[in-house]
């Protein structure tokens, strides 16, 4: 009997040990994105016509969940506009994911997620999401990501009449050749070239160098005529006399900017040819 009892208790200890080990393993997995996806996102969020690809974030797979959450800009903000990203590593207060599962009234009454009115996620699930964010929101291989710094970019080259709001209407047309969608501008006229300067959501008010380069060759600006531009609240511009440039051939424009150590040019290596020809003009 004694032998039987000792054998039973030994067996019980082994079983308990195994169970504890399994529990620990489950808990470890739980705080990783795979665990969250398996137990929370795929079950409570990726339901038909919700976050199954119909609405962002896409919770269908681990990777789709990760990339549409971490440092992913939001599509809906609260009235105060407090949030920028769905998940910011190490910061639940600024992560809209955490806000949406904990706040009853993000924009409207009872709009807490999951969208089953009045039934929030179990507290242990909320805690698991919170733990993952506070641990840096690591990806499935345990890597913690940072968002790269936004680069300066130039958008949309437009033409206008200097010192007026008027665009160069009637001239912003394409020349009738598939080859050259360059803007036609009149000879012997003073016109203004504008480019929008952006760095993410930042408005650029100052740059160390802003230069407009003009070349007859689409990809070679080494021999180009370079003229300094002016920066004014998010727009870089230059006024040019069109008679300074050769007529009846395309003149390609490149914008060069320097701000601290950051040097940016556009169009640049790898820019499509038709995009280069959009950044060109043709003097009648």
């Amino acid at each position: 009997m004694n032998t039987w009892a000792s054998k039973s208790s030994f067996f019980l200890v082994i079983c308990l040990g195994l169970l504890m080990g399994m529990r620990q393993e489950m808990q470890e997995n739980y705080s990783a994105i795979e665990g969250l996806h398996q137990d929370i996102f795929s079950v409570s969020c990726a339901i038909p016509a919700c976050h199954d690809g119909s609405f962002e974030p896409d919770f269908r797979t681990v990777q789709s969940s990760y990339w549409t959450l971490v440092y992913h800009p939001i599509t809906k903000n609260n009235k105060a506009g407090d949030f920028k990203y769905r998940v910011i590593p190490f910061d639940t207060a600024q992560s809209v994911l955490y806000e949406r599962i904990t706040n009853c009234c993000f924009v409207n009454e009872n709009d807490r997620m999951p969208f089953t009115v009045g039934i929030p996620l179990p507290q242990k699930h909320i805690d698991a999401i919170s733990d993952w964010i506070m641990e840096g929101a690591p990806d499935p291989i345990g890597q913690i990501h940072e968002i790269p710094q936004e680069e300066l970019s130039f958008q949309s080259l437009t033409w206008g009449i200097p010192d007026t709001e008027a665009p160069l209407n009637g001239y912003s047309q394409q020349k009738d050749q598939a080859l050259l969608p360059a803007t036609i501008i009149p000879a012997n006229e003073r016109v203004r070239l504008n480019v929008v300067l952006e760095r993410g959501e930042e408005t650029i008010t100052q740059l160390d160098i802003l230069e407009f380069r003009f070349s007859t060759k689409p990809k070679n600006f080494q021999q180009a005529i370079a003229k300094p531009g002016i920066v004014d609240s998010g727009v870089g511009y230059i006024d040019i006399e069109t008679n300074e440039f050769p007529q009846h051939q395309p003149i390609y424009v490149q914008v060069h900017a320097q701000d601290g150590k950051e040097v940016v040019e556009y169009p640049q290596k790898g820019t499509y040819v038709y995009e280069r020809t959009r950044w060109a003009f043709f003097i009648e």
Binding site: G53, Q63, T68, P140, I141, H145, P148, P218, Q268, Y272
Partner: protein
């Protein structure tokens, strides 16, 4: 006395269990051989190939299965089948002749000096079409990896013709390899990048199509898509979280998607054991 000798003495062995039976239903074995042949070479095996396979597979342990699959994959039909599958999957089954015609048309454009501005772009497209025509040879000579093969399938004028415009190109890349639509932000970032402007995709910076391709095909999202595709095609199910994790580990160690495919084809589950 003779009868007594036949009966012998009965021995009772307590707590005995039968030895592990490694034998396999011959039908399962034949099915396995057939499925591997059809999957990899696009045809059923010949009788002599079945006999040879049975001899090689022996008691069907996993290492023998691996060795046999590697041998099947050395057949030149494997490379041509794979190339045909790729063209079927991503390029609506375009054949070599159609690609050749497109390449010849592009080559003719190079004669017009007035369009010299486009020559670099067309020359690149011609090279891509040439590679696509000779994809099975490139695979055979191991000059192209699995990922590069996918890159080639989307970075060519035929894919552009099917998915006209930058937005459609991005959407089709996401759908073909990630099995989902891009989010609005991903689409807008990828679009900016394709136009040659600085943008962030999968938390990496890029500023042209080449960067987009590099970021996209080096992303874990692409790897996940490939693992899911292999599981769905060969095992007809999604991988479990633990399987996905072990495939990721394997890929990060070897850098080869074909190793994941080999694991699947050599598994007990694929065998049907």
């Amino acid at each position: 006395m003779g009868m007594m000798g036949c009966l012998g003495t009965t021995k009772v062995v307590r707590n005995a269990s039968l030895p592990k039976d490694n034998t396999l239903n011959p039908l399962i074995l034949e099915n396995y051989i057939h499925r591997v042949y059809v999957g990899l070479l696009g045809r059923k095996p010949q009788v002599k190939e079945v006999v040879e396979a049975k001899r090689m597979l022996g008691n069907l342990n996993e290492s023998k299965r691996r060795a046999w699959i590697m041998r099947v994959k050395r057949d030149s039909a494997y490379f041509s089948t794979l190339a045909t599958k790729m063209r079927g999957e991503y390029l609506e089954g375009v054949n070599r002749r159609e690609l050749e015609i497109m390449r010849i048309d592009l080559t003719k454009l190079l004669e017009n000096e007035k369009q010299a501005i486009y020559f670099d772009q067309w020359q690149y497209q011609i090279t891509q079409l040439q590679k696509l025509e000779g994809l099975s040879e490139l695979l055979h000579e191991q000059q192209i990896s699995w990922t590069d093969m996918h890159k080639l399938c989307v970075d060519n004028p035929y894919y552009d013709k099917l998915n006209m415009g930058i937005d459609n190109f991005i959407l089709s890349c996401f759908q073909h390899f990630l099995y989902r639509y891009p989010s609005d932000y991903e689409l807008s970032s990828a679009r900016n990048m394709m136009y040659g402007r600085p943008a962030i995709l999968f938390l990496k910076r890029g500023r042209n199509k080449r960067d987009f391709m590099k970021i996209f095909f080096e992303s874990d999202a692409y790897l996940e898509g490939q693992i899911r595709a292999l599981y769905k095609r060969d095992l007809m199910r999604e991988p479990l979280a633990s399987e996905m994790a072990s495939c990721f580990r394997l890929f990060h160690n070897t850098g080869k998607l074909t190793d994941i495919q080999l694991n699947i084809l050599a598994s007990d589950e694929y065998l049907g054991k």
